[in-house]
Amino acid sequence: MDDTLQQAVLEAISDVLNDHQENGTLANLSTEQLNNLAAMLQDSGFFNLLLTEDLGGAGLNLQQSLAIFLQEGVYALPIALTSTNLANAWLHAQGLSLPGGVVAIESVTSVQGQKGLVTIGLKPQSYIHTTPYILLAASDQVYIVDTSAYQTEPVDSDTNALWLTLNLSGAQTVGVSDEAVKQLHDLAVLSSIATSVGAMRQVLEMAVQYAAERSQFGRKLSQFQAIQQQLSLMVECVCSAQMAAELAFYSQDAVPHHKHIMLAKHQISLVANQVANIAHAVHGAIGITKEFPLHFYTQIIRQNRSRGGSELYWAEQLGSEVLQSDKTLLALLSEDLLVS
């Protein structure tokens, strides 16, 4: 692996993201600022990291790109960095292209009713304002959707989010192989994996730092055993999520292994609430205020828990495989489910 190149890209993108932060976060940037940032990321080549160098890309594979894609969660970046890169690689492999800009990937199992409406659900306003295209894997079809198909409604539960529905009546379907459709479903899950684990790493850093700074009863929070034990458990959860992400991105090209995605997404969804809850417990009331950025990250973690399949969804899929096999569980793990 070309670690030097990976490291150079990681440092470059971190510099760009650091420069654009306001009050320690990117989540509060205006639409104009975000669109400028998206344009800068595109112009600097950060949307084509998985394309080969002769196509203007960085020539990274999935395994190499994980450390960079995690930054979307680490910075709570409201621009779909990971899915844009995955989408551009997928489009290129299908002989397709888009004019440029951010491309989100969404995966749904069906299109509702005769009107061709697809509910995407809660999305940050910034997502809607910075995403000119959505690649939609809907059951066995792929659609390229632009903003003319976006239908949004305000929601009561979150002033930063909108309810997004896509109207597919004028959308273009793309003729690709069944295999390519399956890959796109997997890529939607993969992008949520990177974002979620990046956010988990960030809330762990924040909780550890807060515990080391905040004092109560005349002692640092970090000196209380109850806090130490909670943070240790949080570390274990984040380590397991990081391992899961490494497994999901373990590929020498731009195509992930479906079974690794199943296993990884299960683990990341499984620990999501625990990680978010411990982060909030350590921070106390300040962590739930609008001003303090913790909630941006825990919201990413919680929303991605369900997006692309929760742990129950993937457990059921895996359970079917176990029941249909006649192998022992160790044989299944060591021969079929995991890279050997």
């Binding site: 970090s222 130490q228 990081q242 296993l263 457990a315 899929q317 176990v322």
Partner: protein, 384 residues
């Protein structure tokens, strides 16, 4: 940061034939055992089985050939451990010698000690136990009081150990004892000695556990005369050595597979009863997925060991996280059994569930309790 240690590691293709050989031997041997007996696995004691492994030169897999080992590396060891534990093979006779005492002697022993003990370990002729806890020193290991005093001929040992696994069936104990200072001196003045358990003055009393098995013991030392070369490593460095030894203990795949016989029994029962409802799938798939990620974490540590690193902190993470799954497994399966009154699984499955449910609290006690391990992780985070 700690989590960057967890990278995908793969077992070399050249080891696959070895896996099949180990699997065949283990599967053949456990045919005569019920699942409930298999669930003992690393508490199951069989000299016969340990000798079978020794005949294949599979004990001391990481020990150099000059001392009778196979010099194969940590991936072979990983394969052997997971194949034996998942099959439910009785590994307890050689387990401690193979996993901890052998590597400890190799690292700290004199040439003469290596020549004497290591070939015996590899031939399954020397079984070891570890003397750490004492009646008033459990997790607080630095407060031990057993004492070895220098004499003209060597050392005179007095004191006692408790919760020592297999002392009544072992040939030797590696004991952590005080060789200078007082218990208030804590870590200073502790040393490790190898005690021949057949010596005069050693009394071993088995302690029966709640399930009727006697695997742990109480050991009394009454003026036991040890030779000069009973000391292993450096006098006064016992604390550092014990921590290195515990790192060997904590880093293997065994800390994720303690409930595997129950899992395999459950899988078999579900398949035979043709249960295919969503909840059965969720329970089975959930256990499978959690095992898969823990196995990858364990493998990443194996890769580090193979490169000569000592990933003690990462090992603590995997052990504590692994024992949580080991303890969740009987709970998940018991819950599933109880929601399904029409399902009538075999008595062996129910026996296994009952046994694992009752014994699983030990999974997060042995080799460092959950609370101690989380303290180690907190220290690694710089919190203490």
């Amino acid at each position: 940061m700690l989590f960057d240690a967890f990278k995908v590691a793969t077992i070399p293709e050249s080891e696959q034939a070895f896996r099949q050989e180990v699997r065949q031997l283990a599967t053949d041997y456990v045919q005569k055992l019920s699942y409930c007996e298999r669930a003992r696995s690393w508490m199951g004691f069989s000299e016969e089985f340990s000798r079978l492994l020794a005949d294949k030169n599979w004990l001391g897999l990481t020990i150099p050939k000059q001392y009778g080992g196979a010099e194969r590396g940590y991936f072979s060891r990983f394969i052997m451990s997971e194949e034996l534990l998942c099959a439910g093979a009785p590994v307890s006779a050689h387990w401690i010698a193979d996993r901890q005492s052998g590597p400890l002697i190799l690292r700290y022993g004199t040439e003469a000690q290596k020549q004497f003990y290591l070939p015996k370990i590899c031939r399954a002729e020397a079984f070891f136990c570890i003397g750490m806890s004492e009646p008033n020193s459990g997790s607080d290991l630095a407060s031990i009081r057993s004492r070895a005093v220098k004499t003209d001929k060597g050392w005179r040992l007095n004191g006692s150990k408790i919760w020592t696994t297999n002392a009544h069936k072992s040939h030797y104990m590696i004991a952590l004892v005080r060789t200078s200072g007082e218990s208030s001196d804590r870590h200073k003045g502790l040393s490790q000695v190898i005690v021949d358990l057949s010596l005069l003055g050693v009394t071993v009393r088995p302690i029966e556990d709640a399930m009727g098995d006697a695997h742990f013991t109480e050991v009394f030392f009454n003026d036991v005369e040890l030779a000069e070369d009973a000391l292993i490593g450096t006098e006064g460095s016992g604390w550092e050595q014990v921590n290195a030894e515990l790192a060997f203990e904590r880093s293997g795949p065994e800390r994720i597979y303690s409930s595997m016989s129950l899992v395999e029994s459950f899988v078999k029962e579900c398949r035979e009863a043709r249960l295919d409802d969503p909840i059965t799938k969720q329970v089975l798939g959930g256990i499978t997925a959690r095992l898969a990620i823990l196995r990858m974490m364990s493998l990443s540590i194996t890769a580090k060991l193979n490169q000569g690193e000592h990933p003690a902190l990462e090992a603590s993470v995997v052990k504590d996280y692994g024992t949580q799954l080991e303890q969740d497994i009987p709970e998940l399966i018991a819950n599933h059994y109880g929601r399904n009154p029409e399902w009538q699984p075999s008595m062996d499955f129910i026996n296994t569930l009952n046994y694992v449910g009752q014994i699983c609290p030990t999974y997060s006690l042995r080799g460092g309790t959950r609370e101690i391990l989380r303290g180690i992780i907190a220290r690694g985070l710089g919190l203490r």
